[in-house]
Symmetry: C2
Subunit: 209 residues, 2 copies
């Protein structure tokens, strides 16, 4: 139809794909984000992606692999940069404060005001979907590890006491971050969510004199 070939996909033999793969993935992402994995039916996904089931399965494998690809897309698009800034900021207090403020913004972004996909989309999923369960859990653990790494550096930099309980504190920051997703789902305003998120930094040890 139109010249929508992605750069990395050379035109080849056979009937050309009639839809933009990346755009379709982005639309699938929105459905999974808003509704969660299980309630996002293949039928609804197809409607939103404007393709038929056989195209979905030929292009993305199945519902589960489509979800996994959408989730990676989500991470890259929304969280990569905030996480990079968090690790780059030399001041731990400012880093935490800014990261949680940005997080509140993402969780209640106007297009998709529905919390974090990694936290919420695979809750109450069938126990058989082990691949998805493991994948979202791994991403959550990555975030916790990020907090942990950053706190250890803060200890090395003399910004927080060396006897800080890093596993507990990084776990607590992670708990706040994940809890914010539920608040977002419960319909808080972004101003309220930011005021709450600001309290995360209060769990850090008080600055050394």
């Amino acid at each position: 139809m139109s010249a929508n070939a992605s750069l990395s996909e050379r035109r080849c033999k056979g009937r050309p794909r009639a839809f933009d793969r990346t755009l379709a993935l982005r639309r699938a992402l929105e459905v999974f984000w808003r509704r969660g994995y299980a309630p996002a039916s293949v039928s609804e996904l197809c409607k939103v992606m404007e393709i038929n089931p056989p195209s979905l399965y030929a292009t993305f494998g199945n519902k589960a692999s489509l979800f996994l690809e959408a989730m990676n897309f989500y991470e890259e698009t929304y969280w990569k940069e905030p996480a990079r800034r968090f690790m780059a900021d030399p001041d731990i207090y400012r880093a935490v404060k800014n990261f949680f403020n940005e997080s509140a913004q993402i969780l209640l972004s106007p297009e998709t005001p529905c919390g974090c996909m990694v936290v919420l989309a695979a809750v109450n999923i069938s126990e058989e979907e082990t691949e998805i369960i493991e994948a979202v859990k791994a991403l959550r653990m990555e975030t916790k590890q990020m907090f942990s790494d950053r706190l250890r550096r803060a200890i090395n930099d003399g910004q927080i006491p060396p006897d800080t309980d890093v596993p507990a504190l990084s776990g607590a920051l992670n708990t706040m971050l994940e809890g914010l997703s539920i608040q977002a789902r419960d319909g808080l305003f972004q101003s309220e969510l930011k005021a709450i998120a600001a309290h995360a930094a209060r769990m850090l040890p008080s600055p050394r004199p």
Copy 2:
């Protein structure tokens, strides 16, 4: 069969119920708690309750009303007393510390180590189930209100500054509490969960001199 008549239900005409209503409700509660509302199929519920679908529907109405009744049972059984103690403790710091410690214990109780039913069971539910969505949300709001009420009393008692941002702080405590459910689902040990939960009290303003 056996004398299992609940005290409040007088024996009447007709074939007597062959199962204990309260026991069946408790078993349904466990299924909803562990698996969530949607993945808990009527078929599985019936198996665990040891009854057939018609008995379930005659006794509890339908899946949704069974869930609502189970959730109220859950609240009464697990959270009523901790909440009462939280409100009764005259010291806000100790109240928060104890409440979050008890919460960690409930969320990872040996029988059902799967977070809070009110927080998790109705995530990713079909949007048509408005009654359930509203009910779980209302219960979450009640907890937040409890935090709010207790903090205002702490202000009146001169335990925390009068300019404390009560909505934000109660929201932050609520966020920690709800976030703990996700940690519980991710398989933390109770010792880890308690160490994390202890950080909630750090968000309170420092005690007045």
